[in-house]
Amino acid sequence: MTEPLLSVQGLEKHFPVTKGLLQRQVGAVKAVDGVSFDVRKGETLGLVGESGCGKTTTGRLITRLIEPTGGKVIFEGHDITHMSQGKIRPLRRDMQMIFQDPYSSLNPRHTVGAIVGAPFKIQGVHTEQGVKKAVQDILALVGLNPEHYNRYPHEFSGGQRQRIGIARTLALKPKLIIADEPVSALDVSIQAQVVNLLEDLQNELDLTYLVIAHDLSVVRHISDRVAVMYLGKIVELADRKGLYESPMHPYTNALLSAVPIPDPKGKAGRERIRLQGDVPSPLNPPPACRFHTRCWKAQEICKTEEPPLLQLAPGHQVACHFPENAPALAEPEVAAQT
């Protein structure tokens, strides 16, 4: 196994909560609390979880849009966790971000040419046939008319705008693209187009993706491996097949059971798991296993001892004391090795 392109180790982000005139810190929102995963070259890692679980914060920590509180981010062997913005600048060419809202991620006062050409300008990259030619090539690559170079973002539809955003991230030919909810602001029909575009580009340009999403079907379509987050922690990390066909963590099970099935007759074949209550506040997360307040399998140990993220099957890590679908302990591991 080669060295991973991106390695995240115990990443933490605590937003301080201050009170009063003197800005006394009275607590912290533990948005991301010890997240670890690797992204291998050429793969797509999906990061799913419900609203407020820290997915987006994780993406922003990796691109250093916000400063991590703890842990490590290692990109191509460089520890970029606390690297100065000046030093990280050249590395940004290889790590780009696609944003969620195509209406807010493009400056309304700039032409498409200026938006897609901005990476060249900011990074001081010179192209052989000029920036305009390079920009038009990229526009063609993402399926836009290169003649739209002089148009403004408000003249485009949501899907086209997202393509412009993707074109901007591709400008410098990055190795890793972090896509923060790349399709959640789009129509379902447009979602498919954009997801397919992302896949085509991956094959064509040898890209590595970290896709952050809450839509399980989108993640299933695009990802090679999937990480499930709950309240700032990863609860399960597995390859796509393993996760969707034999989820081990009760939370993953509940999530998957909430995906609507398009066939009305197929409803009977599955039981919908309804979780009780709300997600606890990250300001004061439950001790030990964070899911125990809503878990139907929770026992005393779940409230006292935090389950570590263990590999229970090949390539399938889960943090739970009572995993489902788990191969009987010990034996299957041996079987896998032989």
Partner: protein, 334 residues
């Protein structure tokens, strides 16, 4: 978005969507900036266009005041005692309006009212424009800095804004102009130029609070937009983000509030001149003319013409500013 119901064929052609679908024929594809769209919208607003026309007219009058006066009037400070009834000190025939004196003459010394109103436009607009320029410059810089950097910088600038907004400007201006007016030799300028500079400074310096507040708010919301994050994730530095990403989005509010600040400054200058701390006689200003006219309320034209001049100027700028705000409506410039 707020399309009128009676959209005629010509107007539909002007919408960007129509351009997108290629109604314009095989010509080269040309994008329309938000500025061009605003201009198209403004062109349909007859009231705003009238306001803009009057504003342009007033500016031209101010610039070419000597020419206009040499054609249609008499020098503004020239006495015409022959026009005055020596018994009552009023103009002969009530107002003295004639082909020779378009707006009549002043009581007592018989100066040409038309020339004085025309020359008054110079002072009023000069002071209002430059004072606005100072307010806008200070306000934009302060607002952008406060909004973009936040934290203690924001706290300090915001409190400073509060202080300036709470300041009794008129009283302070009265005192300051009165005191500084004594230091002609030390300041190196004197007479009207000193007074004009003082008024520009005082009016401009104490009015930046409003505009800074608006700009700060806009910057706060722009800073959180994803295109700023996008620029940062590309490695853009602070100045790039401020000047290339944020400032272009602030041009609309800056323009709008500048146009609405000009009439306020015209009024402020008139008020100061009315109270006698503005430009000193015999130089003609609208405020000083109104002030002088209060003694001759039986000669109404003396009050009506400078009053109308102020009224029309303020109204025209306000109508134009309102139209500009509608045309640059932030809701339609998502």
């Amino acid at each position: 978005m707020t399309a009128p119901l009676d959209v005629s064929g010509e107007e539909t052609k002007a919408t960007p969507e129509a351009v997108l679908s290629g109604v314009g024929g095989p010509k080269a594809i040309q994008g329309r900036s938000l500025g061009q769209i605003a201009w198209m919208r403004l062109k349909k607003d007859k009231v705003a266009l009238t306001g803009a026309g009057v504003v342009i007219f007033l500016v031209l009058v101010a610039i070419f005041a000597p020419l206009i006066v040499s054609w249609f009037g008499h020098p503004p400070n020239e006495f015409h005692q022959e026009m005055i009834d020596t018994m009552t000190m009023r103009p002969k025939g009530g107002s003295g309006i004639s082909g020779d004196f378009l707006f009549g003459v002043e009581p007592q010394n018989g100066r040409d009212l038309f020339s004085r109103v025309v020359y008054g436009a110079r002072i009023s607009l000069l002071i209002a424009f430059f004072a606005t320029l100072i307010s806008v410059l200070i306000g934009t810089v302060m607002g952008v800095v406060a909004g973009y950097f936040g934290g203690w910088v924001d706290t300090i600038i915001s409190r400073l804004m509060d202080i300036f907004l709470a300041f009794p400007i008129l009283v302070f201006a009265l005192a300051l102009v009165g005191v500084l007016g004594q230091f002609e030799t030390q300041l190196g300028v004197k007479g009207d130029s000193l007074r004009i500079l003082l008024l520009i400074f005082v009016i401009g310096f104490f009015n930046w609070g409003y505009i800074a507040r608006i700009i700060r708010g806009q910057t706060l919301s722009l800073r959180e937009r994803e295109f700023v994050d996008a620029a940062r994730s590309l490695g853009a530095r602070g100045p790039y983000i401020l000047f290339r990403e944020i400032l272009p989005n602030l041009i609309a509010p800056i323009l709008i509030y500048a146009t609405l600040l000009v009439p306020a400054n015209v009024l402020f200058e008139a008020a100061l001149s009315f109270l006698g701390v503005g430009i000193q006689p015999p130089t003609a200003t609208w405020g000083a003319m109104l002030s002088a006219a209060t003694k001759y309320y039986t000669v109404p034209h003396f009050m009506i013409f400078p009053g109308m001049a102020i009224f029309i100027t303020v109204l025209a700028f306000n109508l134009f500013g309102d139209g500009l705000r509608d045309a640059l409506d932030p809701k339609s410039s998502r």
